[in-house]
Assembly symmetry: C2
Amino acid sequence: MGGSTDQVHANGRSPAAPNSGDTKNLPLDTLINLDHGDPRMYESFWRKMGDECTFVIKGYESLSYFSNPKNPACWFLEPKLEDSIKALHGAVGNAVTDGYSIVVGTGSSQLLHAVLYAVTSPDQPNQTSVVAAAPYYSSYVEILNLVRSGLYKWDGDAHEFDKDEPYIELVTSPNNPSGVIRGPVVSRDGGILVHDLAYYWPQYTPITSSLEFDIMLFTASKCTGHAGSRIGWALVKDIEVAKKMTKFMEVSTIGVSKESQLRVAKILQVVADRCKRFGSPEGDNFFEFSKNLLTKRWEILRETVKKTQMFTLPKYPLQHCNYTGDVTQAHPAFAWIKYKDGMDDCEMLFKEHKILTRGGKKFGTDPGFVRVSMVSREEEFNLLIDRLSMIQGLNNVDGYAAEIE
Amino acid sequence: MGGSTDQVHANGRSPAAPNSGDTKNLPLDTLINLDHGDPRMYESFWRKMGDECTFVIKGYESLSYFSNPKNPACWFLEPKLEDSIKALHGAVGNAVTDGYSIVVGTGSSQLLHAVLYAVTSPDQPNQTSVVAAAPYYSSYVEILNLVRSGLYKWDGDAHEFDKDEPYIELVTSPNNPSGVIRGPVVSRDGGILVHDLAYYWPQYTPITSSLEFDIMLFTASKCTGHAGSRIGWALVKDIEVAKKMTKFMEVSTIGVSKESQLRVAKILQVVADRCKRFGSPEGDNFFEFSKNLLTKRWEILRETVKKTQMFTLPKYPLQHCNYTGDVTQAHPAFAWIKYKDGMDDCEMLFKEHKILTRGGKKFGTDPGFVRVSMVSREEEFNLLIDRLSMIQGLNNVDGYAAEIE
């Protein structure tokens, strides 16, 4: 499935932008950083939850390296985190955990490094090719090239992979940057698929089935917004692969922060316990809150983009979400914005309007695209909308360049 | 400086072993794991400190990836941790921090990976050789070989390095496993030195000067015993090296757990604030407490080893410690035990007495050595002493093997 684009028109700022007064906290000329997907949108929810989510640890607790020496797959996984992960996937219905080993990582980035180590071997004759369909998550390239591993090598866009040899395909679904649901592209014998499901949560996309791929990666950063905790987890069907991933983590960092594991365990359990009640007066269903907020932001963004007459946004299909029971479309964590008439450097255009984004080239595609975070704080989102509204009536780059000089 | 050995004799268990009743909590046939240096010895101190060291974090705090975007060396270092690290080194006088950049890591293991990345380049013609003087920390080999990097390669014992090319020497001081203070062995032009100072704290060794090497690695695991937190830090003289280390951490794990950083910041500050008062009735000087405990353990161990007539222990010089003001010897976190008359597998001998240790071969040396943790819980230390006492009157492996069968 590819990311179709939706051409929409108009200009001026949306009068519907909520809480636009929030921008008063930021100087008008502040450069807003929407390059990273820093998930500060979720702070208001967690603030509302009060002490129920407060994590306390005494000075003498969790001194040991070990969390659960009896766990054959991962000796540093806290049992409470394991329980919460299973409870949450069970409640949301987005992934099967029965029959899977769970490996915890310092974010899902470390887990991807661990997977690459686990499914390759120093005895193989050549480095294993690793591919992902463009536009692909820009960090994959950096992860693959980091220390020039002899086990694996980045081989670019999966659409262009035509070697008759073992390979690894990274399948990001929903895709970062484009937000679309994806399957593998190469689909040949001897291929190993790694499913990066960081965004397969109800606030971003309809949950259409409980997935059961061989290797599935998730992260608290995108699920609940606790990016600072650096907690990711892998659901792994083959326990031998899980054990090798654990070995990687042992040599790389001797396990994963216990404080983060225990805090995220608490947070995930709070989410799981409350996520089956919809429309409750307490407003304590995290996914309902987040989905409503992202839906509003996307409405405002689409209206603004339409008015500019300059950009397009991907169009997402309406689908039945098993979790909410509604027919809905995706509201991704990133907007994948394309300059309508082609452009050499859309990232620069945004930067000149004081919006830091990540340009298409880094995702292996056209520099006329930019990826813009949709999960920033309200003030930053409002500034994005303000500034996007001001990029109007410009029909070409020259015209734009003339104006800003 | 090398690890001289001290031959001592006798047999039977030390009657001076304190709290030997503690062993009642462990079944008599429990296999005790003294392979890792799991620092659970420190739990009793932190328990005594009560709520002063309790760490509390609310559900909405520290969601962002960023800790300090204005820090040019390390954007994910929590300012509070930076302050505590400086305060602690200042109070102890073991390392200079003025003029250094601080980089935080998920344990010092990750920092070593980061250093290797930072001081090499993909443009260099060959992999840089990395060496350490035997006996060297066993994990170095695993770290160097993990993903078969094209940037660097493990080249074994520094004493045998004779290539006329750039190299990296890992200088572990005090050394793991042998506990001795060390300097570089190769000392040629074009060499980069990485000082692993995990054990350069007053409970383990006299603090004889405030070190100011180019790259110095430390870890909370060995300093305060908070191994589960996975917090290490590097003091780096060249900010460009620090920046490259930060880049490594960004691609490897997108930073380091904020919960761990903030908790360890609190713990280090508590240690720093109280570590200049000696003999206070509160007994709240962490290094004083720890040094006293290790000193007692070493006395008991030396007496027990002497009685067995079978093993030797390294002898450490008496030195003036600038921190305590006393003349004292080292009391390392590991005992580096040598079978007197040579042996093929001392690790196996200990294992048959239900003591898990790490054998000499893994440290690049004679299998007649074993490394045994001295920082275990009291019960385990007592069981070690009990069992060591029982390995007596055996003058050769055959005799031993006959007895245990």
